[in-house]
Every structure is written in structure tokens, then in C-alpha cells.
């Protein structure tokens, strides 16, 4: 039986054994292969990495990782310990929206041919505090940033227009107050 695969921004139906929305932050050695070690821990335990941001730390000897993950909730504490156990991982913490600031950035390329549609779109962009970063006769690129649910909401509204493609950075997280990220 053939199946048509469509791209959409709809979330997959919720499953009891899957948890989404968990955000892990890791401080790691900035060396080749470190990401492989971490990814193997998730893959072996049937976890999916929904988003991943890696960047050099303030001290270039280290890197920052932010992972958005989903998988069996019972396994999560053990996964964190396994990551922490890696020699190349300085620390691994889980963050919730309550104890941290989570931000994401999305670029959305949309077909715009008529002036009326363009005006409507610009109203949405303004409402979400976004910005038009590229504009030509046939399309525009919109930048939206904020908490993931805000980015989700903006893209949902734009879905009634003809979206060519979207790119999201994935979540970056920083712990509030004196907690380490």
C-alpha cells in the first residue's frame, strides 16, 4: 500500500510512552567526536533528538549543547547520568521553562504575489515581533524569534499562505538567576 508523505507543521498524535518538550543542556569538551558519543546514548535508548544546537563556549576549549528530546520518560534520569558519565561531558542538566529561558529562531519563506496578502502577512509579523529579512517580487523571508510555542503559533498563522520552506534553529536555553546552564 502506498502512502503519501506530506510535510506539515502538525504535531504527531500524542503517545503515552513518548515525552516531548524536555530540554537538556550540556557543557562539553570542544573536540571531534564528542557529539557522536552523546548521540549514541540517545539512539541506543530509542530517544529522538528533536532539536540540537551546538556552539563554541566563551572559552573555545568547551562547547555548549542544547538538546530538545523525546522518548520513554522512565529512562530520562538514566540518560542524563549516562551523558554526565562521558569523559568529554563537563556537566549535563535538564531545564524546564520555569527555571530557564528558552528561545528559538525561525526563518519562513513565503510566496507573496499580491499586495493585499503582503499587508496581511506584515501584520502577523508585526504582531509576533518578527522581521522581514528578505523581500522580492515573488516571496519574502520572515524571521520570528521567541519561546518555541510562540514560534509555533506564528508559523501556524502563516500556514494559510503558501510557505515555500521553514528553517528553525532549535532551542537554546539559559538557566535563570544563579543556576548554571
Amino acid at each position: 500500500m502506498s502512502r503519501t508523505i506530506t510535510t506539515s507543521d502538525k504535531k504527531p498524535a500524542a503517545r503515552a510512552d513518548i515525552i516531548g518538550g524536555h530540554t537538556l543542556s550540556m557543557f562539553v569538551n570542544n573536540k571531534p567526536g564528542v557529539l557522536m558519543r552523546i548521540c549514541q546514548i540517545f539512539a541506543r535508548r530509542a530517544y529522538n533528538i528533536d532539536s540540537l544546537v551546538v556552539s563554541q563556549g566563551r572559552d573555545p576549549q568547551f562547547s555548549r549543547l542544547t538538546l530538545g528530546i523525546s522518548g520513554d520518560p522512565a529512562g530520562l534520569p538514566q540518560i542524563i547520568l549516562q551523558c554526565d558519565k562521558l569523559i568529554d561531558v563537563i556537566h549535563c542538566y535538564e531545564h524546564t521553562p520555569d527555571d530557564s529561558v528558552v528561545r528559538e529562531l525561525a526563518l519562513v519563506k513565503i510566496v507573496v504575489e499580491g499586495g493585499e496578502k503582503r499587508t496581511e502577512l506584515l501584520q502577523i509579523v508585526e504582531h509576533f515581533g518578527g522581521k522581514t529579512v528578505d523581500l522580492n517580487e515573488s516571496s519574502m523571508i520572515i524571521r520570528i524569534e521567541g519561546a518555541s510555542d510562540k514560534v509555533d503559533a506564528a508559523i501556524r498563522l502563516m500556514n494559510s499562505y503558501e510557505i515555500i520552506e521553514t528553517v528553525r534553529t532549535g532551542k537554546v536555553v539559559m538557566a535563570r538567576a544563579d543556576q548554571a546552564t
Binding site: 549514541q40 568529554d88 561531558v89
Partner: protein, 578 residues
């Protein structure tokens, strides 16, 4: 010719010099193109390192493993790139599963060819990530001494494990201009924290222990690695607890001691498993609650409190969620715990367990041919339980665990977690190199022995007086046992027809060989083997073909569902694996 000045060293020489300074006595390995500079450095650098040429790289890893388990010092392996490194996988995995310190140095293609499918190129760094404690692909010649020091530090501290160092040929043969004493730099690794035990966890543990009326101590490999034998004995005496051990913990508490109930788990003693089922407190010192010992996790010690002494934080709550976890080194933890422990009087409980010992002793039939159990029982008696025993995996391993009681640590060398066939004989070679004055007995089945028997040559060359005891039933007996019990006795892939004449085979290598066929001859022939010390001796014992190991807990079943003797009715297929 010895190298004197540091400025004349190349990377390989700096590496060998560092290994020598780290106290390496033996390097087990197999040469090859990409490792040529390192092999050359073994000749040009003055050191106490002796190189042992094996006949297969898997053998080299198991020898290093046996050396490490007999001494507590890391075993060192040197191989070439590609297939050479690939052949070490099983041995590295075996060491990782059983927390064995090991350093594997592998040659590698030159750095500018990596990723280009060059001759004998394999991404051994990537391949081994899941089976090492840590690994390195060294890209700078001057990093070699620092990497070697870091590898040793990582392999031997905290929970030990294997560390692989992959060295491209241009890195090893370029001039070394760095610091031979470069300090290690591991900001993400703090094994010293294991010496700092949380006092509130110790107090909570002491409260549970002082309240217990039916305690049991479970002694694991971690207690042995920590060197906590005396503390464990004191804890057992003060709490009047029966002590059971895991397969790898055999010997950390003397199995001939009245408080010992032997090994627990799938093929453990009935009295150990009954003690676990009936206790009100389980004190686990240094075991990771392997699935072979817990059976059905939600029924394991369901009525009892559980204390878990564990050095690896990631093991706490992985299989069993304890009531109290004490994270850190077992010796340090027990030393700090003992002053808080009151002298218990659990005479009734011990009497009850002794009743089980009398009711369900380990035994075997004396008629109907030669039994593996008898051979093991006799060799135990002839060696007073003092020999170093290495085993392969299968029925002979479980019977050896049951019948060869160990009285001291580091004398039982067996592949537990990985269950690696072919492990026992090369591990015995490593152990004999480590302990030249000890009696070393490699207990193998006819299946596993044939996987690494080429190492007879290695044992013969070095005149190692190993007793190679091949318990030969012409079957892969443990698998056949499962097929008999759970698959209507349909034998599939278990008949080892075509076995060689093992005595003739040994003789072809210049190794002495003898046969044992009759139960009445066992002691005499074994004594003959024990008295022969000119080199290795192979003892081929022709055993009953279709014997089964009991007691048995089918995989995934609860300990209370243990089969003490053969079942009278057909068994359901087990839910757990193997």
C-alpha cells in the same frame, strides 16, 4: 640501541617511553603496517616492557584482560589498523562490560588518508565509542605522552574500563618535540569524588541495617576492585548476614566461610536465591544488579529494603531502585559505615538459611558417565581452592562457578557481562604472565576453546604451565539445554560434530595433552596435569553429552520461580533474553 636524548625521539618512542614510565610490564599484540613505528620503538627504547606476540588480536585483548583481572593493573594491547583493530572489538567489549582496566593502542592510516577508504583504514575510533570508557584519535605527535597518561588515569580510576588510543602512522613516526611529562587535563572526569561519601546516605544505610532482622549481603565486582574484603567480612560478621556474590564477585568473600551462600542468580545456589527472596534487607556492595541476578525486576526483593553501594552513579536506579544509595568507593564507604553498625543477633535467620543449605545442596549424579561437575569438584579439592580459574561461557562456566569455591579476590576470571566464548584460555595466558608462581587453570568447553585455541602457540613459546581443561561434550551445551527445556528438544546449531582430537592438536603445537574418559581416572590424571610444569598441558575430559545445569531461573522469570531440578512438564518460552 638505547635512545638517550629526548630531542631525538619520534612519537612512537615517546609513547613507549611513557608506557614504560607508567609501569607497563607486558604488551600483548600483533604487528602490522600502520603500527610499524610503534613496534620499532619497542626495540629502540630501553624499557622493561616485554612484548607478547599472540596469534590473533582477540587473543591479545583477552590476555590483557586476564592480566588486568589477576593484578588490578591495566592490561595493554598493541595492534595495527583496520582488521587488526577490528579483531579487538570482542575483547574490548568484554573488558568494558566487566569494568576491566585496559589500554588498546592501535596503529592507523596516515592522517591525510583518513576518510578515503585507504588500505587497512577503519574508523576504529567511531566503531569503539559504545564499547570503551573513553577513546582517542591522536592527531598531534606531541600529544602522545599526555594521551597515554590520560588513558591510564581513566582506565584505572573510578569504575575501571578500556581506553583505546588510535595512532596514525605519521603521528607516531614524526619527531617528538613536546613535554614527556605533560600533565593530564580532564575537566569532565572527577573520580576523586568517589572518595567523598555523602554522610547522610551512610546514616540512612546504617539505620536500615540496624533495624534488619533478615539481612543479606550481595557482594559484587565493585567490592573486589575497591579492595573492600576486610570491611565486607566485618560487615557480615557484625550484621550476621548470609553473603552471596555475583559471578564476578566470587572470592571477595570466601565462599568456604559459614556465612557464604555462594553465587546467586540464574544458575546460583538455591539457598542464595531463597535468601534473596526471603530477606528483609539486601545490602548490595558493588554489584550493578545485572539481569542475570535479578530475574524479573519488579519481583526482585519486593518485600525487602535495598541498599546499593555503587561507584558509578549511572548504575543507581538503572535496574533496581534502592531505598538508600551510597555512591562512591566501596572500601571508603564501608569503612565509614562500620562504626555506625551494631552487633546483630540473627541466629534464627542464619539457622533458617542453613536449613536451605542442607535441603538443597549442589550435587550431581555419580553414575552414567563422566560429569563436568565431578571434574571441577575434584580439581577444587586437589588445588585446595587456591588456583586462578579462568573460564569460557556456558555450562562449564556455571558448574565451575558452583563447584570451584573461591577464597580470595582476583582468582576467578570469567566473562560475565559480555558472555564471551573464547575468553577463558587467552585470559589464562595473561593471568599466568601476571602471576608466574600461581597455578592457573583455563576451564573451557569444546566450543569456546576452538574460538581462540591458536593461542596454544603463545603458551608453548613462553612455556607457561597453564592447565587447559577442555570439558568436552561435543555440544554447545547451554544452548542445547535451552532447546531441550523450551523448544521441545529441537536441536538447532548446537552439535559440534567434527571436533578435532584435542590431544593430538595440542601435540601438534608442541603442547602436552592427556585424555580423561572414566570418572575413576579424574583425580589421578588431574594430579598428573598439576604436577607438570614444563609448559602448558591440555586435559581433554570426555563428558556426558546431555547434562543440564540446575538450579535455573529462566531468563526474565522471578527468583521464586527457580527450578531446583529438571522440570517434569513442558516449560513456556522465557520472556527474557538467553
Amino acid at each position: 640501541m638505547a635512545i638517550e636524548k629526548e630531542e631525538e625521539l619520534d612519537g612512537a618512542q615517546a609513547l613507549i617511553k611513557t608506557l614504560s614510565e607508567l609501569g607497563v610490564e607486558y604488551v600483548f599484540g600483533y604487528s602490522g603496517g600502520a603500527a610499524l613505528p610503534i613496534f620499532d620503538a619497542l626495540e629502540t627504547v630501553e624499557s622493561n616492557i616485554k612484548f607478547v606476540l599472540t596469534r590473533h588480536e582477540q587473543g591479545a585483548t583477552h590476555m590483557a584482560d586476564g592480566y588486568a583481572r589477576a593484578t588490578g593493573k591495566p592490561g595493554v594491547v598493541l595492534v595495527t589498523s583496520g582488521p587488526g583493530a577490528g579483531n579487538t572489538i570482542t575483547g574490548i567489549m568484554t573488558a568494558q562490560m566487566d569494568s576491566v582496566p585496559m589500554i588498546i593502542v592501535s596503529g592507523q592510516q596516515v592522517t591525510w588518508m583518513l576518510g578515503k577508504d585507504a588500505f587497512q583504514e577503519a574508523d576504529i575510533f567511531g566503531i569503539t565509542i559504545p564499547i570503551v570508557k573513553h577513546n582517542y584519535l591522536v592527531r598531534e605527535t606531541n600529544d602522545l605522552p599526555k594521551v597515554a597518561r590520560e588513558a591510564f588515569h581513566i582506565a584505572t580510576t573510578g569504575r575501571p574500563g578500556p581506553v583505546l588510543i588510535d595512532v596514525p602512522k605519521n603521528v607516531s613516526q614524526s619527531p617528538f618535540t613536546g613535554d614527556l611529562d605533560a600533565e593530564i587535563d580532564l575537566p569532565g572526569y572527577k573520580p576523586e569524588e568517589a572518595m567523598d561519601i555523602d554522610s547522610s546516605s551512610l546514616e540512612a544505610a546504617a539505620r536500615l541495617i540496624n533495624l534488619a532482622k533478615k539481612p543479606v549481603i550481595l557482594a559484587g565486582h565493585g567490592a573486589m576492585i575497591a579492595g573492600a574484603e576486610a570491611e565486607l567480612m566485618e560487615l557480615a560478621n557484625r550484621t550476621e548476614s548470609p553473603v552471596t556474590s555475583t559471578l564476578l564477585g566470587k572470592g571477595v568473600f570466601p565462599e568456604s566461610h559459614p556465612l557464604s551462600v555462594g553465587m546467586l542468580g540464574m544458575h546460583g545456589t538455591a539457598y542464595a536465591n531463597k535468601a534473596i527472596c526471603e530477606c528483609d534487607l539486601l545490602i548490595n556492595v558493588g554489584s550493578r544488579f545485572d539481569d542475570r541476578i535479578i530475574g524479573q525486576a519488579d519481583k526482585f526483593c519486593a518485600q525487602a529494603k535495598i541498599i546499593h553501594f555503587e561507584i558509578d552513579n549511572a548504575e543507581v536506579g538503572k535496574m533496581i531502585v534502592p531505598d538508600v544509595a551510597v555512591v562512591g568507593d566501596a572500601k571508603v564507604a564501608l569503612t565509614q559505615l562500620l562504626p555506625m553498625i551494631e552487633q546483630a543477633d540473627n541466629a534464627d535467620w542464619l539457622e533458617h538459611i542453613n536449613g536451605y543449605k542442607k535441603k538443597y545442596p549442589l550435587g550431581y549424579k555419580k553414575q552414567g558417565g563422566l560429569r563436568m561437575q565431578q571434574v571441577l569438584d575434584d580439581i577444587y579439592e586437589l588445588t585446595d581452592g587456591e588456583a586462578i580459574i579462568t573460564t569460557d561461557v556456558g555450562q562449564h562456566q556455571m558448574w565451575a562457578a558452583q563447584f570451584y569455591l573461591n577464597s580470595a579476590s582476583f582468582k576467578w576470571i570469567s566473562s560475565g557481562g559480555a558472555g564471551t566464548m573464547g575468553f577463558g584460555f587467552p585470559a589464562a595466558i595473561g593471568a599466568q604472565f601476571a602471576c608466574p608462581d600461581e597455578t592457573v587453570i583455563a576451564v573451557a568447553g569444546d566450543g569456546g576453546f576452538q574460538m581462540t585455541l591458536c593461542e596454544i602457540a603463545t603458551a608453548v613459546i613462553h612455556k607457561l604451565p597453564i592447565k587447559i581443561l577442555v570439558l568436552n561434550n561435543h555440544y554447545l551445551g547451554m544452548v542445547r539445554q535451552w532447546q531441550e527445556l523450551f523448544f521441545d528438544n529441537r536441536e538447532s546449531g548446537v552439535d559440534l560434530e567434527g571436533n578435532p582430537d584435542f590431544v593430538k592438536l595440542a601435540e601438534a603445537y608442541g603442547c602436552k595433552g592427556i585424555n580423561i574418559k572414566r570418572p575413576a581416572d579424574v583425580k589421578k590424571k588431574l594430579q598428573e596435569a598439576l604436577d607438570y610444569n614444563e609448559g602448558p598441558i591440555l586435559i581433554n575430559a570426555e563428558c556426558v553429552k546431555t547434562d543440564n545445569v540446575f538450579p535455573m531461573i529462566p531468563a526474565g522469570a522471578a527468583l521464586e520461580d527457580m527450578l531446583i531440578e529438571p522440570p517434569k512438564h513442558k516449560m513456556a518460552k522465557p520472556v527474557g533474553s538467553t
